[in-house]
Symmetry: C2
Subunit: 398 residues, 2 copies
Amino acid sequence: MTPGVEELLLELFAIFVAAKVLAEVFERLSLPGVLGEILAGVGLGPYALNWNRPTDTIHSVAEIGAIFVLFSTGLETSPRDLVRVGRKSLLVAVAGVMVPFLLGFAYMRLRGDLTHEAVFVGAAMVATSVGITARVLADLHVLSTHTAQIILGAAVFDDILGMVLLAIVAGFASRRGPEWLHLGILSAEAAAFALFMIFAAPRIVRRIHPRMEHLSNQNASLVVALAICLLLSWLAAKIGIAAIIGAFFAGLMFADYAPQWNLLSRVNGITEFLAPYFFFTIGSRLNLQLFGANLLITAGIVSLLAIVSKVIGCGLPLIRDGWPAVLQVGVGMTPRGEVALIVALVGLQSQMVTQSTYAIVIFMTAVTTLLAPPLVRFLFRNEIREHEETTMVAAVQL
Amino acid sequence: MTPGVEELLLELFAIFVAAKVLAEVFERLSLPGVLGEILAGVGLGPYALNWNRPTDTIHSVAEIGAIFVLFSTGLETSPRDLVRVGRKSLLVAVAGVMVPFLLGFAYMRLRGDLTHEAVFVGAAMVATSVGITARVLADLHVLSTHTAQIILGAAVFDDILGMVLLAIVAGFASRRGPEWLHLGILSAEAAAFALFMIFAAPRIVRRIHPRMEHLSNQNASLVVALAICLLLSWLAAKIGIAAIIGAFFAGLMFADYAPQWNLLSRVNGITEFLAPYFFFTIGSRLNLQLFGANLLITAGIVSLLAIVSKVIGCGLPLIRDGWPAVLQVGVGMTPRGEVALIVALVGLQSQMVTQSTYAIVIFMTAVTTLLAPPLVRFLFRNEIREHEETTMVAAVQL
């Protein structure tokens, strides 16, 4: 082995264990594990204890990790579900994307920030990370309720809209300033890419499906999926939108065949190994010393807006279903996650946003993710009681 | 994303696809796919077409890939099987390790090579890659025959003995010359490590097993296994033996629980993604221009010795079972694979062997791997006929 292999292995081991131990601590406290992984990066990173300054290789591993996080997300997002959940979810998702973006953008502009900083903060406030809400709802056994179904359906559209918006913002970033012609071309490119991937790509997979069985390699389906994931990630980066968007759409493309081809567990194995490096480096870029009173106030207001805007955007289309439904769906759509973090990272790496704006987005992600689970539990208290009573009745009858 | 991400993704994609396409071509020709992956590296690498000179990041990814190749091998090698297959397999394995090592070493010394070059060639000739034979035997439906069982049993011991020998040789390499005291310490270290991992480590896993269920993370078993794999790989590198040996023993440690914890498919997902980079870089280091008449003759003789020595070492202990058994087991144990390639790579990277010696080992690996499948098919022709007759009788009775 090369002389560097010992250092590489030690770094891989230390980061993996630090991230996973804190994730376990967080999950035992009923908090999302991913925040623990980020906190490990904050704590051990160059701005705090400075035990670990990720090397170039770790940053490359982290970028491959981000691609697999989004590839896994795509694999678990079936385009078929979009058709099933219907118009109500779509309405929730569209309003739930527009309101946070506009509120976030407006507040940052009013504060006196530059347009592109405001665009990034707005974009980071868009995408719901439904994984956290879904796990809470599943734990509470209320996944089958009407509002839970709307949340899950809307989250699918929300992911895709968030991706398209990120594509536009990332293209925006790569031009260094608002050149409207370029931005127009990029938006068209991103939209065309998204439409092609949602409507045409699954058909291509359906066409190649019978031929897959002729391939000699036992892992042919995984190999083809991985190759297409790498190809689309590169292609997305090449045409000027973020690589992870390609990975997400690659996942979407194979989503319908993922169970049949046994893709999920094998791709999740890769994600489980590589994702901690991504979340750790997210944290290691966060400069805690920036958090003075001024930044804390701004971050607090952005976090509040992130919650209020989802309740307005996602909840109000359901006003006819009554206030409980409005609040359940609105709060259920609150947690932001990987996509917000990636928007912030794209901004920081392309030097379009300052360290302070990056810190605001990380703060907002943490707040929304931490607050959602207890709030969701509270808002669904009636449904939980009903479920418990049904279970008790069933137990008595037995 | 950083500016380099586009190049990184393109390189990841190009190498993955080149390796996998050639693997598919090889498998369609009933040849081992791994040779196709190596050939992709030879062809596209700096010594031939020069389309791709792997970057540092790819070399790091390749090293992580090598670790997962051996981790997977370990996971599929159950220590419990060792107890079952008994003394005959152990005898076959020990003689099958000693004879190739001594013949390889003696020939290289007679040729006038330096001691350490001869040690490396001898060590590379030791470890059988049973995967190829196992697949051929399974395809022929003769896995349940007596000799097939001996081959599979012996291959387990053979892997472990090969690893211990590699540990000693790798330590030898890191000292730059035969310092016998150091070599003695290293051999003791390697042997202690191996014994601990085979006998004590699985008990530790059995003890922690009940506690695993208390962990909140859904993927707790995979996370713990990955952490221990990285830890032992680093530890092995740290005490001066190759990192992959730690990975192999980490796999061995979890082998008994691999099915129950659903480790195999998830770890194989990681291996499937990363291994092609390892085999590609193996190939990309091979300088084809070195293959003059002189080198070809040496490489041919070494390949012949690699076959003859396994037939003698593995076959002769079975002389009482008759010549067909001798030849079946001897030839079945012939193919060399990953371990031989890694021995060669360790030698090349530590500058203990020349480019020519590296080329000889790659050549020997290719020849033994290519010749074994047709020879095994020929030697098991009677068993195949019996199987076909049984199947026909069964079909007629139905």
